[in-house]
């Protein structure tokens, strides 16, 4: 579904990280790495918004360069860690934004668009607050709406850039349950970057780890934590503390 081949990503000419051959299938995948290793840059690059890379990124077996911007929006959706809406849009209005890539030049809403939105409201149980104004929702509710919007966009891949960064413990937990629920009920690839690694074995089937300029795919949930701690040099610190 998403594949990297001989990928090297740079920022302002500086080498950030490289990946040799990585192939990711549907399901939940976490993107882990320390601050500044390039998690956000990777997500941006997959979105086609960063052209500074060599090698190949393939979505549905086509390189991302071969997509027209409007067509790529039908393949990949994204959720950022914080979002704000300019205007008095309701949650439902925001969900409808996900249908934009499919609409004509006048953004005419079709019956199908509305049905799609209703379906996602049901799927993610957003009824309680979906008709309130987006700007008055809590951070947790806002994030659920934005995830809903990404699902409404009806793409094979959903990227999430630290979606839980501004959420409290309960909301984080809820968010993970929602992601799991989406993964179970659809055939999507859900790739989210995070710093909260402890919960990953229960959620993810794989992890993309960026460390020391290298991107690697971890596919054995039992080894997730130890591999991450090892590469971050954390085990040593813990031993010292004991």
């Amino acid at each position: 579904m998403l594949a990297f081949k001989q990928l090297e990503i740079k920022v302002s000419g500086r080498h950030l990280f490289a990946a040799e051959n990585v192939h990711i299938q549907s399901g939940i995948v976490a993107l882990v790495g320390r601050n500044g290793t390039g998690k956000s840059t990777l997500l941006k690059t997959i979105m086609g918004l960063n052209r500074e890379f060599t090698g190949e990124i393939k979505v549905s077996d086509k390189t991302i360069q071969s997509f027209h911007a409007a067509d790529l929006a039908k393949e990949i959706a994204i959720v950022y860690s914080k979002s704000s809406i300019f205007g008095n849009h309701t949650g439902r209005d925001v969900l409808m934004l996900g249908r934009l890539p499919y609409q004509n030049a006048f953004a005419k809403e079709t019956v199908a668009d509305r049905e799609q939105v209703e379906q996602i409201i049901d799927l993610l149980q957003l009824e309680k607050f979906v008709d309130q104004e987006f700007s008055v929702l809590s951070d947790g509710e806002k994030q659920l709406i934005m995830i809903g919007r990404a699902v409404v966009q009806d793409t094979k891949i959903i990227l999430l850039d630290e979606p839980a960064a501004f959420l409290d413990l309960v909301n984080r937990h809820q968010l993970m349950q929602v992601l799991k629920h989406i993964a179970q009920s659809t055939e999507k690839l859900i790739l989210f970057s995070t710093h909260q690694v402890d919960v990953l074995p229960n959620i993810c089937k794989a992890i993309l780890l960026i460390d020391q300029g290298r991107l690697q795919l971890l596919e054995n949930p039992k080894e997730f934590i130890s591999t991450i701690y090892d590469s971050f040099g954390m085990n040593k610190i813990e031993k010292d503390e004991v």
Partner: protein, 336 residues
Amino acid sequence: MSLRSDIPLFSVLIIGVFILFWMNLLLGDVPMKTADVFNILTGGVADNSAWSYIIESRLNRSVVAILAGGALAVSGLILQVFFRNPLAGPGVLGITSGASLGVAVVILGGITMGSFLGNLGVIMAGVIGAIAVLLLLIFIARFIKNSVTLLVAGLMFGYFTAALINVLFLWANETDTREYVVWGLGSFEGVNSTELMIFALLIVTLSLLCFLLVKPLNALVAGVDYAASIGINIKTTRLFIIVFTGILAAVVTVYCGPVGFIGIAVPQLVRVLVKSKNHAVIIPIVFFAGSFLALSADFIVRMSSNSLPLNTVTAIVGAPIIVWVIIKMNQRNVSF
């Protein structure tokens, strides 16, 4: 939300514009019978040979008000969404000032607006000035993420260009200075029928072109990053926004002088009133709301025998709307 829910608002505006348009034609310092006005409009002759000119002038300034008000409001709407700031508008961001500087250079340089070439020169200069300021703003916006700071930068452009124009006065002769000062007061009056054709052509064409921005604007309410993720080409969008809003504001400014408040107040008000979030619906509503406000302002100006300057009236009507919207937004804890 369905389109249908905004039909009452749209109808009220259209009817309001229609009524004001006729009031502007029928009422004035020179009292005329409705029959006389219709007679003149249908090509008839009146007892007083000046009346046909008076009706033509009333007609022209009403059409100018409708187009100029609409253009300023649409330009303000697009800028507010693009800069994600309800206080943005052609006036606040200094775009009008840029156009003024262009006009000042041409007029104070001694070219009068009367001739066709002079006209074209002034329009070009105004457009160049407006777009130059917009480009500068967008350049600065790369370094300033805080949109309030950006507005302050826009205000500074305004002061800076005003200062430059004052410097230009030093070299200008009395007649040119007077011509510029008169222009600077702002008015929908004084556009003759030939000029009106050019004006209408430009405004209508550009306003229609703004519909190319429907999807980008719908997406941009969520910010540039989200807009890009739903397939909006940000570079093209930015270019279109600069060109369309710049030319719209500049053309109005060249013909009517710097007209304030319509560009900020109308989009704000409409955003509160309108149900749809689709700019294919919002753009025409904002246009006619702008026309409505401009016509009302002009009607008040005319009822005062032209003794109230247009900008005084737009300020009296517009400023309270802006303050009201700001208060309303603060109540709902919306951050700019």
